[in-house]
Every structure is written in C-alpha cells, then in structure tokens.
C-alpha cells in the first residue's frame, strides 16, 4: 500500500513537473513570438510591372527589401556600412571597400567582391541608363574575395551617395543573361538582403517577400511583407481605414493632407510628420536666357509671392517656410540665411530700377526695350497642385506688374523641355531627397549646367564651389563650402522654393517601432528590424 502511495506521489510530482514545464515552454514560446509581426501589408500606388530588378518600382522595393549595396543611408541621411564593413580613400578617386565575411545570396552562395565588380561591369555594359550615375567609374578591381577597389575618372567626395543606390547582383545568376531587362525568371530577384522575393501576382496586384533566415544581420522583425498595389489613392486610403493594409506608402512622398482629419478619428491609426529633404515646388529660372540672366530680376520675382498663404493653401500647415539659401533644413551644414517673405514694394522697386516700366498704362510692365514682358511659366499638367500653384504665382506676379503666361505640359513634354532642350524661361517643379544629393550635393545636380541644370548655372564662381565640394574631405572646409553655396543661392537666386510640404505618414498604431529614413521613408531598414506589436 505504502509502495503504491509512494509510486503515486512520485508520479504526481513528475506530472506536476511536466505540466509546469509545458506551461513554461508554452509561455516562453508565446512571449518569444508575441513581438514578431507575422505579416505586414503595405499598400501603394507605385505600379510594379514585372518582378525584374530593371523594372523601376520593383528595383526600388528590391533596394529596400531584397538587395543591398556597399553602403546605405541611415535615418539621419548619413551613409553607413551595408555589404561593406569599412572603406577608405586618400584622393577621393580610388576607393577601397572591405566586404563583410558572412553575407550570403538568397540561394546560399557567398557574396564576394567579384559579384560587385561584375555588377558594375554588367550594369555599364547592359544598361545605358546606368551611365547616368556610375558613368564616372573608370574600373573596378577585386583583388580578393572581400576587397573591392573602385577607380573613378576624377575625385568625387559624393561618390558614396552614388554607390549607395547600386544594388549588388549575383554573378552566378546573371553571367549567362544577355539582356537583363528581358530576364523575367524568379532567379532575377535573388539578392542578399533581409527579405527574399516570393512571388508577384499581377492580377491580384500583390508582391510577396519573406524574411531571410540567413541574413547576416539576423532575421528581420516581420515574417512576411505583402505589397498591395492600388491605382487609386482614395481606394488605398479606404483599404487602410478598413485595416486591409497596415501602411499606405508612396516612395519618396507622403500622404496628402486631405486624408488627415478622417484618419485622426481612428485610434488604431497613428500619424507622423517628417521633415521633407526634397522640395515640393521650386521656381526655376533659366539663367542662360535673357532677361533671367539678371540676378536683380530674379530677386524681384522672389519678393512677389505670399509664402505664408502658399504654405497654408498647399500644405495645410504641414509645411515649412522657405529659406533663401534654398537647401532644405536638415541637410548637413544647413545654414539659416533668411526666410523668404513677400515684399511687394521691394519687388516693384527692383523691377523699376531695372527699367521694367508700365509704358502703355495697362498695369503690366514692359521690358526696358518697350517690348511686352510676358515670360512663360512651365509646369506639369498632370500635377494638380503644381497647376494651382502656377495660378497663384500668376496672381502674385501680376500684383507687381509681371504678366506671366502659364505653359502646361504633360510629364513627357516637360521632361523634354527641362532635361534636353532647355528652352524653358521659368519653370515650376519639385526636387527629391536623392535629387538634392546629386552632383556634389546641395542641389548642385539641379543647378549646375554640367548636370541636370534646370536653372542652367554656368557661373565659374558657382562651378568652382561645386568642384571644391567634390574634392574636399576636411569637414570644416566642407562646412564653409556648404555655407558659401547656400549664400550663393540666396544672393544669385537661380531658383527659389515656393512651398515645401512635410512628409505625412499614417501607419497602423497597433505596431510600434516605425523608423523613418530620408531615402526610403517609413519602409526603412530600421522599421524592418524594430517593428513590433505595440
């Protein structure tokens, strides 16, 4: 009897241990997985046509999720290691990068320096478009598996910005592919980033990515990311409010302020406002064309608009007051010069001193040679806010006696005029964060006639500043040069900001750990690794 009781006691104790163990294990498993996000659905109006890295938007999302470059932009807009753990350069012309040892392609093969050399050589050979950003690369060497040496045609401080957008592709996949644009196999999407491409359902408008268990930086926080494409932003926002998507996302843009009041009523929706590192609308003068080669005339234009009214009208308060130094606040070595303000009298007096007078008494100014002064303001017809802003500018300029004629052009015609023919007089168009880093940064790509040159500046003084920025590593000197270039903008006014809208980013507030990056927005590297249940 005693024996039976003893056995029963031992049995009960064992059972208790088993139960406690099971409960503990279950709790551990639960707490271990409770923070992970099983699926994040991202809604977007960016249209992916095919799962080919050479498709524009698939390329953009590949760079965020499945592919990597040598370096990447962090949340402050600075460049930090990605596939390269470190790099050095003595003369800004020869750059040496040391790659990490543990990076693997999604098919398990190691990422080598030879892959990066292949990427550059392949891009330059197969894609004429790549010359637009890596055309200054003279040669790439891979002396060993983990060292990449890039030789440039001339010193370029800003080279890291350029190389940050080059996604590395696997040599073992692409070496036998003659035309990458027509290579639509699933293998074309193999990368080495934190997410693996799973599939593209064109009819459902869904692209699926899955967390890469073998990623060198550890498994990301979200198991599956689904991109759901909409053609209509209103339907996208309805899907967001209906909780069908967790994040409305527009590459390099925020959500329109129209939706904010409705979204604020929903407790499960959070909204963050981030400063825009591009500029929503800029008035560009073609400084190579008379009479816009005169800086006093450009200054006179800049005193005409009512910036406060424009800010309220186009940003509903989610904007910032434009600065005469043009580059957005938040840019490295940003210099506070003066805020642009309306001064109708100053504008009129500047115009008067230049000989622009109302000869025929119609309230509008004639040019010094008595010819009618009716400059054309070019803007895109497919951007309703730009068209409205152009109408507002017409009103402001008429107020100081300038009769501008609005010239609406669709995206293609606008591009042809601004980028190729350069026949515009004045134009209204925006810039992006990436665009502002082009050339030697500080918007020089848009300004300098040797690059995009929307304002066609070929002034040796300006070009010398740009060249110095490209060749200077010393931080103090760079700070001085940055200040000089911003002063140049304020003084010469080759272009000025009309208004700039901050990035309004709604998100599912049931998740926390969203991080914003100036290049990729809220779908940043930080978000991929830190997102968790709130």
């Amino acid at each position: 009897m005693k024996r039976t009781s003893g056995l029963l006691t031992i049995g009960l104790i064992f059972l208790c241990f088993c139960l406690i163990g099971a409960v503990w294990a279950a709790q551990t498993e639960k707490s271990g997985s409770s923070d992970r996000i099983a699926k994040l659905t991202v809604g977007t109006i960016n249209q992916i046509n095919d799962a080919n890295p050479w498709d524009y938007y698939f390329g953009v999302y590949s760079m965020m999720l499945s592919h990597q470059g040598l370096v990447r932009f962090n949340n402050d807009g600075d460049l930090v290691p990605d596939l390269a753990t470190s790099w050095e350069t003595k003369d800004l012309q020869k750059w040496t990068f040391h790659l990490r040892e543990d990076a693997l392609w999604h098919d398990g093969k190691p990422v080598t320096a030879q892959d990066f050399k292949f990427t550059i050589d392949y891009d330059l050979e197969k894609d004429p478009l790549s010359k637009s950003y890596i055309g200054t690369i003279k040669s790439v060497e891979a002396p060993d598996n983990k060292t990449v040496i890039i030789n440039l045609e001339k010193p370029d401080y800003n080279f890291l910005n350029t190389i940050a957008v080059v996604k590395t592709i696997p040599e073992h996949i692409f070496k036998s592919v003659d035309d990458p644009k027509k290579f639509n196999d699933k293998e074309a999407a193999i990368g080495c980033g934190p997410y693996k491409f799973v599939g593209f359902d064109r009819d459902a408008g869904i692209v699926t990515y899955q967390a890469n268990d073998n990623y060198w930086g550890g498994k990301p926080a979200i198991d599956t990311i689904e991109l759901r494409m909409f053609k209509n932003p209103d339907a996208l926002m309805l899907a967001f409010q209906k909780e069908e998507i967790d994040l409305p996302y527009y590459y390099s843009k925020g959500t329109s302020y129209y939706y904010v009041p409705k979204l604020l009523e929903n407790d499960d929706i959070g909204i963050e406002v981030y400063p825009e590192r591009g500029i929503t609308n800029v008035l560009w003068f073609n400084t190579a064309k008379a009479p816009f080669d005169n800086k006093e005339l450009r200054q006179a234009f800049s005193y005409a608009p009512n910036y406060e009214e424009l800010k309220n009208m186009f940003t509903a308060g989610y904007g910032s007051a434009p600065c005469a130094g043009w580059v957005p606040n938040g840019t490295l070595y940003y210099t506070e010069i003066r805020t642009l303000t309306q001064d109708v009298n100053k504008s009129k007096s500047l115009l008067d001193s230049l000989g622009f007078k109302d000869v025929n008494g119609d309230g509008l100014l004639e040019m010094p040679d008595k010819a009618k002064f009716q400059p054309k303001l070019l803007t895109r017809s497919d951007l309703p806010d730009s068209v409205r802003a152009a109408e507002m500018l017409k009103k402001y300029f008429a107020n100081v006696g300038i009769d501008i004629e609005i010239d609406l052009a669709d995206k293609s015609t606008h591009g042809e005029i601004m980028d190729e023919k350069k026949t515009h007089e004045i134009s209204l168009a925006g810039t992006t964060f990436w665009g502002m880093t082009m050339g030697e940064g500080y918007g020089s790509g848009y300004t300098d006639t040797r690059n995009y040159g929307w304002s066609m500046v070929s002034d040796p003084k300006y070009q010398s500043l740009v060249d110095d920025l490209g060749m200077t590593q010393d931080k103090d000197k760079r700070k001085d040069l940055a200040a000089e270039i911003q002063n140049y903008y304020a003084e010469e006014m080759p272009q000025f900001t009309v208004y700039s809208m901050n990035i309004i980013q709604p998100y599912n507030a049931r998740y926390a750990g969203w991080e914003y990056n100036p290049l990729h927005g809220i779908l940043s590297y930080g978000t991929l690794f830190n997102l968790h249940k709130a």
């Binding site: 095919d50 055309g135 069908e244 082009m438 690059n451």
Partner: protein
C-alpha cells in the same frame, strides 16, 4: 438573284473600303505618337539621370531603333506588323504582345458583359419608357437614366466603391483577384472582384442608350404606319414588338457596335478606381511615357476591333433593314 448580287456588291464594296481604312489607320498609328511633343528616351531617363549625356541618349535611341530616319522606321514598323511582331515596350521591359495579352483579356472580361448588360437594360427600359410615354414609369426611368448619364464616371465608381465595398463590405476594394486561388474558387473570386466595375460600366453605358431608345420609340409611335397598325386592330404589345422595336434596331445596333469597338480602349476611369489592369491604363501609361511600341500595338488592336465592330454593324444593319444593301 439580283438581290443577292446586290448584297454581295454591297459587302464587297464595304470590305474594300475597310481594307483601305485599315491601312490608312496603320500609318496614322505610326505617325501620331511621333507627332506628339516629348521623347520616350528622355522620359525613360527621368530622375535617375545624373548627367545629361547626349551619348547615353543616342545609345538608348539606337537600342529602340529611334535613331533611324522616319521612313526607315515606318517600313520597319510595317515589316514587324507583317511578322505579327509588335515589338518591346520602352518603359515596361516586356514585349508589347505579352503586355496586351494580359490587359486585353481583362478588358474584354470587364467591358463585354458591361456593354451587353447595359444594352439589354437600355433596350428593355427604353422601350418600356417610350411605350408608356408620359407615365410615372417613363418619368422615373428617364430621371434615373439622366442621373447616371450626367454623373461623372469617377464619381459613380467611387460611390459604388465607397458604399458597397467600404461601408457595407460586400465587395473588395479593388484588383482583379484576391490571389492564391484556383479552379472554381478563382472564377468566383474574379466575378466577385468584377461585380462593381461591371455594374458601374453597365449603368453608365445603359443611360445614354436608354435615352436614344426611348426617344426613338416615342417618335415611331407617332408615325403613320403605327396608326395603320392600330387601325388593323393589332394589340399595343404586338405593335411594339413587330413594328416599333424593328425600327429602333438599326440606330441601336450602330450604338452597340460602337460600344463594342471602343471597348478595347478600356474604361480608364473605372480601371483606375478599381485598380484593374486593363487596356485603358495600358494606353494611358503608354501615352504619358511616349512608349511608341505600346501605343502602336494598342492602337492597332483598337483599330481592328472598331473596324470589325463597324463591319459587323453594317452587316447586321442590312439584316435588320432589308432596304439597306438589297434591291434599290
């Protein structure tokens, strides 16, 4: 016998005219995109172009055969068409045939039922309203048709989306399928996704056809031969079906044929609201990007459909009205 040869001559004459028109439109399809301002290559470069390098632009032009003189491009275009080769999209990295095959099937699936439902609805309701002219039925149906006719397509589509998909949750908020389904489940899922866009297009299409049918019926009822039919003692129903509808048919057939013809150009607004991949958005994107091969390919298919639909209408016209193409 004479009647048959008259009809044959009528058909043959039509066929020759259609063949000539087809060739003319083919040439216009080549010329029109190139006459538009803008450049597909500059468009392609976009924001990514750091340096405005003319060599790069030339290289891209050569890649797409745009560096050759226009007449060489034209003959090359005709040769490609003869080989049934529609070329490769400049912007979308896909063959035009592949792009269009995908969009065309969905457009047909969206627009064909819409035209059919809209036409049947218009014929039935229009005849009823015309038959019961100045009655309450006529008043209600005409008011409803005018409401849909004057409602902007975007507004109607958004209203349907907002009420039935967002608020009532009866239908999805867009796209063609939910993904990951097959068999009957897939078919039902597609039907579920297409219900609202088809409803929007049907209502829009029915509204203007309704007004034409209603007015035609009202006018025909005042004709002498209707008075004669009444005098013969025929019932109103018999008069409507045998005499009135028959006279309404020729203009109605023309309208429906035009709708079928232009259905290939898609329903841009409805496609955008419901996030559908159809010919409307394909053509719109191609025009914005000046994607010449896609524009040419889409216009070609559009041409073929419009001509085929018109040819069919001509034939049906002759059947519906023996005076046409028959004995003089």
């Amino acid at each position: 016998m004479t009647m048959m040869s008259g009809r044959k001559a009528y058909f043959l004459g039509k066929l020759i005219r259609y063949a000539f028109t087809f060739f003319l439109i083919l040439s216009l399809n080549f010329a029109l995109p190139r006459m538009m301002p803008g450049d597909p290559i500059v468009n392609l470069l976009g924001e990514e172009a750091l340096h405005n390098d003319p060599r790069m632009i030339e290289l891209l032009r050569a890649e797409h055969g745009l560096d050759k003189p226009l007449h060489i491009q034209y003959f090359s275009y005709l040769r490609s068409l003869a080989r049934m080769d529609l070329g490769y999209s400049i912007h979308k990295n896909l063959s035009v045939a592949e792009l269009m095959a995908n969009s065309l099937i969905w457009t047909l699936l969206l627009v064909f039922p819409s035209v059919l439902i809209g036409s049947i609805l218009a014929l039935l309701c229009g005849s009823l309203a015309g038959f019961k002219s100045n009655s309450l039925t006529d008043f209600l149906l005409t008011a409803l048709a005018l409401l849909f006719y004057t409602c902007p397509p975007f507004l109607l589509a958004m209203l349907l989306l907002s009420i039935f998909a967002f608020h009532l949750g009866l239908f999805p908020l867009g796209n063609l399928t939910s993904g990951g389904r097959d068999g009957l489940d897939y078919v039902l899922d597609v039907a579920w996704h297409l219900f609202l866009p088809v409803a929007a297009l049907s209502l829009l299409g029915a509204s203007y056809k309704f007004l034409v049918v209603r007015n035609s019926v009202t006018q025909i009822f005042d004709e002498q031969f209707i008075v004669a039919a009444r005098a013969k003692g025929l019932t109103e129903r018999c008069i409507l079906l045998r005499h009135v509808i028959r006279n309404v048919l020729p203009p109605f057939i023309s309208m429906v044929a035009l709708s079928f013809g232009f259905m290939v150009s898609g329903a841009l607004i409805v496609e955008i609201v419901f996030s559908l991949n159809g010919m409307g958005t394909l053509i719109y994107d191609a025009v914005v990007a000046r994607d010449y091969p896609v524009m040419q390919g889409s216009f070609l298919v559009l041409t073929m459909f419009v001509l085929a639909a018109n040819f069919a209408a001509d034939m049906l016209y002759a059947v519906a009205d023996p005076r046409i193409g028959g004995q003089r």
